[in-house]
Symmetry: C3
Subunit: 659 residues, 3 copies
Amino acid sequence: MQNLYHGAAFYPELWDEEIIEQDIKLMKETGINVARIGEFAWAKMEPEEDSIDISFFKNIIERLYENGIYSVMCTPTVTPPIWMTHGHPERMYKNADGVVMGHGSRQHACTNNYYYRERCRIIIEHISKEVGQLPGLIGWQIDNEFKSHTSECMCDTCKKEWHIWLENRYKTIDNLNEAWGTQIWSERYNSFDQVPQPGPVPFIHNSSLSTMYRLFSMEKLSEFANEQAQAIRKYSKAPITHNGSFGFMIDNESLYKNLDFASYDTYANYKNYSAYISNCDYFRNVKSGKKFWIMETSPYCGGSLIGTGSPHPKGYLKAEAVSAYALGGEAFCYWLWRQHKSGCEQMHGSVISAWGKPTVGYSEVLEVEKARKEIEDIILTTELCQPEVAMTYSDRAKAFLMTEPHKGLNYRGLTGDFHRRLLSMGIHRDMLPEGNDLEGYKLLFTPFVHYISTEFLSKITAFVKQGGIWIAGPLTGGRTKEHTIHTDAALGAIEKLAGVETVYTYPIDNTGAVGEAFGVEAPLAMWSSVFKPIDAKAVGIIKGGISPGLAFITEQQVGKGKVVMLGSMPAGESGNELMKKLIDNYIQEAKIVHRYDVTEGTLVVPRVGADFKIWIIINMDGRGGSVILPEEGRDLITGEKVGKGSLEVSKYQYRIIRF
Amino acid sequence: MQNLYHGAAFYPELWDEEIIEQDIKLMKETGINVARIGEFAWAKMEPEEDSIDISFFKNIIERLYENGIYSVMCTPTVTPPIWMTHGHPERMYKNADGVVMGHGSRQHACTNNYYYRERCRIIIEHISKEVGQLPGLIGWQIDNEFKSHTSECMCDTCKKEWHIWLENRYKTIDNLNEAWGTQIWSERYNSFDQVPQPGPVPFIHNSSLSTMYRLFSMEKLSEFANEQAQAIRKYSKAPITHNGSFGFMIDNESLYKNLDFASYDTYANYKNYSAYISNCDYFRNVKSGKKFWIMETSPYCGGSLIGTGSPHPKGYLKAEAVSAYALGGEAFCYWLWRQHKSGCEQMHGSVISAWGKPTVGYSEVLEVEKARKEIEDIILTTELCQPEVAMTYSDRAKAFLMTEPHKGLNYRGLTGDFHRRLLSMGIHRDMLPEGNDLEGYKLLFTPFVHYISTEFLSKITAFVKQGGIWIAGPLTGGRTKEHTIHTDAALGAIEKLAGVETVYTYPIDNTGAVGEAFGVEAPLAMWSSVFKPIDAKAVGIIKGGISPGLAFITEQQVGKGKVVMLGSMPAGESGNELMKKLIDNYIQEAKIVHRYDVTEGTLVVPRVGADFKIWIIINMDGRGGSVILPEEGRDLITGEKVGKGSLEVSKYQYRIIRF
Amino acid sequence: MQNLYHGAAFYPELWDEEIIEQDIKLMKETGINVARIGEFAWAKMEPEEDSIDISFFKNIIERLYENGIYSVMCTPTVTPPIWMTHGHPERMYKNADGVVMGHGSRQHACTNNYYYRERCRIIIEHISKEVGQLPGLIGWQIDNEFKSHTSECMCDTCKKEWHIWLENRYKTIDNLNEAWGTQIWSERYNSFDQVPQPGPVPFIHNSSLSTMYRLFSMEKLSEFANEQAQAIRKYSKAPITHNGSFGFMIDNESLYKNLDFASYDTYANYKNYSAYISNCDYFRNVKSGKKFWIMETSPYCGGSLIGTGSPHPKGYLKAEAVSAYALGGEAFCYWLWRQHKSGCEQMHGSVISAWGKPTVGYSEVLEVEKARKEIEDIILTTELCQPEVAMTYSDRAKAFLMTEPHKGLNYRGLTGDFHRRLLSMGIHRDMLPEGNDLEGYKLLFTPFVHYISTEFLSKITAFVKQGGIWIAGPLTGGRTKEHTIHTDAALGAIEKLAGVETVYTYPIDNTGAVGEAFGVEAPLAMWSSVFKPIDAKAVGIIKGGISPGLAFITEQQVGKGKVVMLGSMPAGESGNELMKKLIDNYIQEAKIVHRYDVTEGTLVVPRVGADFKIWIIINMDGRGGSVILPEEGRDLITGEKVGKGSLEVSKYQYRIIRF
């Protein structure tokens, strides 16, 4: 069964029967066809230890189904009840300052605690057994926004697991000492149990220890997700997901590996629509070949007791929904259906108010539903064209950069800016996890990845040999697997592939260094690698500063393709111009087809049907725009012909042109 | 006996006999007629547990009295001695981060600790017995600046008392769960002893829990104040006060309920003279019918080891003193008489330096004394005219807003701005606790009060029916007693009274919404309620944004009066203009008499005598100003006639005109 | 044996034999003639408790010596191994918030812990016995950058030692109570063991307690340094130093008292070259008559995982080195030779990269070596001329100012600004510890010293009587030895010496006060003392504000010399001008010879040989400059004659002129 979903998070456990009745009726009227339920409801299901009763939710799923509404059932593991937490500080999350969390919010338990894990398994199996085969159930979500409020836990259970994890990784303590270079500062450990968690120290921790603790935490979280999935699968075949994000302290790539489809939450401000699009471009690839879900977005703005976002202008919600569906989404769901009356998110935008009336976003939700109906057949009979251009996004690279941020570098911000530039240039693009196949791509950007794994580099080498162009940097490649510095060459094995010698690495900011390439000059910034081309060709040359004459951009033919090193970050307005010229240059060289002559702020999404292609054109910035059509087509909404040449889209409008 | 007091805080326990002698002589010369003593002197009185000797202070009071100086005796409970604190972390204040305070500063003990409370009672009874009937003793101050450095304590005693308080309030845990909506996030408690204090959690606490903990803390503090008053009254009939403030984490209204008169401390910068005046306008009403005291202000500036204020310009201190006496004050007292030589406030302005010489503020103190003598008879033979305009000030509303500050909203700042506008418009005004009588008022503003209690609303309804105009909002009325959202209507019972339906509530900032009313257009801001008038009339209409056409100001005739809803905050310069037009409009409609045609920065205080009225006119901003006299009068200082029309006041001058 | 050293920190324990071999060869080629080793290598020397083996380092020293490279051996006490720290939180540093440090960084142990001290003694004696008499060993460094990451420890050992220290200082608790004025706020202690460490309190601690705890911590640290020196001297006669800094929480003056020569670390940005010079001007005087070492500076910039400095421009490193040698330095050493591959300082500038290649700073290092050779004979056959002008620098004054910073005052910043002004005026100057002899000086500035000791004042009085001019202030003299306020006069005994009465002390900022002196008017700032001249002459008069007509600068003839009081800080650009006029005036009055007519940014260092004098002229700001030669001379580098009058130096150039 194929469908485009339009959904909302629903909390019937918070309301009485009359309101539940009213809500289901209203959902139906509104066009909501999927409800997500249960993700905080552990205390409703198991108010006291071992008193488990899931019937309330079974009944809800059945009633929703009777009203034409599907359900996604959640595991309620993010909010363990008071009987698990009260009097048990050892089960709670402990932050890097040593502060132990109490009951009353969420994510307060340590996700590695054995007792907690066991109780999670028990409640999940009960839920799955009870509702896992209901016809209304079309999917599962495990937990909720893992690590959205927390990062690495420092509790004693984690300490124990950390030591086990280290022993699995390094086998002997000598291996660890060698790998981490712990002779430095007399850190050297005599046994695994001596290796500390990265808690308070007078200065900072060894980079290897910090990064490994982040990876440990991410891996344990993925393991927990797997355990939850296994517990569900004992009784249910419905596909399983989680609602992830770029912003959480998780490894999205590994987290979804054993899940069935990707979904995520996004609350980007409407002015930051490129961040919204980047989510689509990434999560589409987290489970390749599967449609993604937007599990949470607000009908107009997010909010809590201590802050709110800015409401979307009229029209923007529809633009979001259409672009999600166009870019590979299957569902567009709100948080939340009915405004909370209690707790700490009463300020959060919803479809219906706490007093049962439409909110200020309701009319927008109706517009989304109208659009969904309008495009559903078109979406379901076409497929997104494979992008030829991709950029790497890796949460493991984020972990490395958090350990070593130089001057406050932020991985999300850096990759976001990089993506925004591609988007603004009308390029059809993907954001790819490191592990994804590179088949079908012609041009790959890999910026800000301190550590390039051997596997990743092999794959890239093959990609290049077959004709791909790989653009590596800035900041890419200078660290080993163990988060140390290479001792053979600044960038290790990459240098040979790139045909360069990195002469120096240093923070080039404020040295007066200017980079010249593609006819543009720009000041250079960031921790930089500056090159002497060995077999490669210098494409960008440094002027001034303390390493004049060396290269910051090089290219090297490898097989049918090319490796381009970008050793430094062109900065400021001229830096942006230089980067655009660079992209332009390699876009042309790679013979990229899916690049559109479209005004900035407007998105073109190419899709193919049985024997035709379409463009879905959406204005995202509220200013309207235009795109040059390469040939005559037909507007699938009005049915009218549209000529070759410029096509207008008005503010937040979408148009669908079939060629 | 009637008097205007001119006082200072005096710490004879810190100095030797010779200096005490010198100080008393100097006080007399200076015109200081009241000294506040003893508030930090517990260790002097009881250096070791149960070795109590109050004779030093008895002697001081007697010597002061012999020199024509009255005394206010303080309980020294803010600084428990080392024998109570050393080795007893369980008796100490514990902050929200779990940090337990040590000895050496003040407010280090938990005011709910049982042992501490008992020792407080003992020392107070001793003091009261010893000095409580001395003729020189004209008043008591309990403790000092309750909760000026601390807020809610998180110690184990407080936890126990919190559970008792909750049980008293809710009777059953099910009631609490229902009231707080704890089904959310599986917060649900099975017994009162499971309810946490609002300590560290990964995100934020339930709004009900946070607010109730604040109210609990405030109530326990008022209870402690009552206990102290009872201990004093066992042996003394002298009236009792405390030195409060808007800035402390206390409920001033409830704190003073069982005390005898109000006093407060103020260190407002001279540029912020409206804050200084707002204290007079509020504390005058905390104990209606009683004159207030300024228990502490600096002769020129406050200060401590880690910072100082800016010294007052010449003339300002006198303007402060005269306005305090004119606005209902009975005493104007300095902190402190002689500069501390040790401790942590050596930088604080004083009357006499640590080496016994006049400070830079001394000449100003003499000017105050000159003015005091000049106006004493006039003040004592007249009474402040009853203001017709009032605005609500509620520390409980502050507690709600601290829990739910949206985007950093600050109750003191918001109400201060509101008051400043009234002041700048020449309006004679009161700031009223929620519980005060509304008799005699014509116009009441109630902004920024999340929760309007049933009692308060009843009183307001009666006020309106009898002809009053009530202007409610912004932010007013959207929360229940339990700090949840109403489920019948956005603003609950207010809507019916106001004849409106709140269509939406949302953060209107940055949406492009403009409000138009009274011929002015201004951008709208803050979490807003936007209305559909049912029986009411739309007075202000929203243009643009995402709820155009709805009202943000409405008015509804109720009985002889009117309810005006102000659903949103007009922002910026035009917003201020709109607000002034609104005030102007209802001032006129309410036929307010006590509004003066006076330049901004100058204050007119109307008072009435047996058969005459006077205006005390004081320039507060140092720029001089003028006021239009409605009729001929006589200058009571010069004795000269002054004509109808414009009257000048020079920089920081005061004039008194009798009509 | 006399030499100018050019050195680097060397960590052979982190690398394998092949790389060590390569490094020694490269050092030799580069011209490195001294290596500092061992300061973090405790775990290498004693991997398990009592398994001590120093042979690795003995071997390194011998091999270096065979290659013409001397060694400075360090005690590795800053990084105790895991066997000392694991499972022993009581041995670790505890900060003011009560957070106990863990293993993995440095300075994690409490330097007062008894067990730690004992293990330090043992390892040091072993090291000294093993290498202390090797011919290659020319010096020792104890520990590394004491208290660079930490300040006062709050552990239980420190608490115990604190009580002992207090008892030694005060003998009886009554003396302490009296000295600290603890009657205030009922702080009063009944026994020494009740006196708290300055941990968390609701407001702030008594100034005496805070300052005494800082002094206690500094003294204990100096005691620890002495213990280390004694352990070394048991087996070695090589001179001992430590690498100090203005920036660490130590008393440099007392720390070096029992050490043999001074050295320090500096990482000032090239734009802040005056900070670089101020280090030379101070550390030259910490051990009078001994040459100082720059033990650490970066070849181009400092850095760690979480931040980097800005690289020096080309030429600056050489200017640094030459000025250090010229100003009394014997060694110019880098941190570090080979870039770290692991740990947390991989980003730090080095001579050789982790992969064994020259870094971006290498060519600069070669330039330094070239210059060193060029000037070595000249430096070794001349001596720095004794400066006639000095300013006091005192880490004890820093401790007082940290306790009482008024509005964020920072001792290092204030004294740095003061020094920069002298430097910019072409004045040959010293920065002097309080205890130094004043013989040979004509003009002494003592700004920002809250407490002037009796000994210091006696020495100054003698200095003045013999013809010196002492300029005291701003901020100087207002506190007693116990960090309380004087009770006889605002500035105590200074007033009599200065012939003034301090009428008021108060924060003069923002009062409109303007100071006029030397024909310049400037706004006044800071906590100020304003004077009535008694015997003195008013030199600077206050206009406006709240103390008009009083003096802020006075001068008083005392014997053959003069005491000048500077009671306030002239602020802004005109304030700087006023200060320069003041300096000019007294420079002339004191008949200072060593002041040069040189453009700002260029340094003149006068030195004398057997029968000649030379000027070493160095451009520090990269803009080039010129100096007026008073007579004809000879350029010792080119050998050419240079005429009287203007001599040019180009960007970062140095020239040596012999007269």
